[in-house]
Symmetry: C2
Subunit: 154 residues, 2 copies
């Protein structure tokens, strides 16, 4: 329903939840911070300058958006978002947490596999102005965030 | 945990979920679009210019933020967000949906009762730039949105 992925779309998130690294996805397995039967969470490949190391939580089974997502997945993602928020507070010493989830191109959805963002927030970080200036990072730049977060998700 | 409401805080959301209208809250009962045992959803009292009639979903029992919220509430809010998203697509003929949830003042939280925003999105609506220019509306301005949405939540 309301799908926008082209017919030959190569999903950049499906390989990552299957443990694969290839040319379709920027996600490396060192980005993985949480996984259960239903959902996985990764450090996002793109960083927002004032909110480094933010996380996306995704369903392990492909759904494009919130309209398509079976309820058990959306419920589990919300529960995991609470875990990640708590862990991020300690691991990153951030001053707040914002969660954000976009559907359809007009809603700023770029990757057509449901993904739920969890951002660390800091005083005057200007998150909303900076969302349009995301920067692709290297796996080496991301891994310290994954390591810190995993410590607090145990 | 990580609470910011002052000691004598008068919660503007608690009266509304109890069915009350008073000077502590802008929310009127005509703003209510959904209610079950755990959560309620209202048309937000403040409008964002390009995203009129957006909704907040709140726990009926007071929790300040995501860290405090019992899991059954966050799970239910996520399930209701999916219902509202689907209803909004039809009721508002919008081009997308964005959900947003803020915690702590540094995370742009202004009302200290957990609330989960569901925004209708439109091409080039510039939501993120406009978030800081919210406008207090009248109950009369909000009620057509509540009526439309309720029609599609039945």
């Amino acid at each position: 329903m309301y799908n926008h992925a082209p017919k030959d779309y190569k999903c950049p998130i499906c390989p990552a939840v299957k443990g694969l690294e290839n040319e379709v996805t920027y996600i490396k397995q060192t980005d993985l911070v949480y996984k259960d039967e239903l959902v996985s969470a990764f450090i996002n490949s793109f960083f927002i300058e004032g909110n480094l190391g933010h996380v996306i939580i995704v369903p392990n089974k492909h759904s494009e958006n919130i309209y398509d997502m079976p309820e058990e997945y959306i419920r589990q993602i919300s529960e995991v978002s609470k875990k990640i928020a708590g862990a991020m507070k300690t691991a990153y010493s951030c001053d707040g947490i914002t969660t954000l989830q976009n559907n359809e191109p007009a809603g700023d959805q770029h990757a057509f596999h449901f993904h739920f963002h969890v951002f660390p927030r800091y005083k005057d970080d200007n998150l909303h102005a900076n969302l349009s200036h995301k920067r692709l990072t290297t796996p080496e730049e991301r891994s310290p965030y994954a390591e810190k977060l995993k410590e607090h998700l145990k």
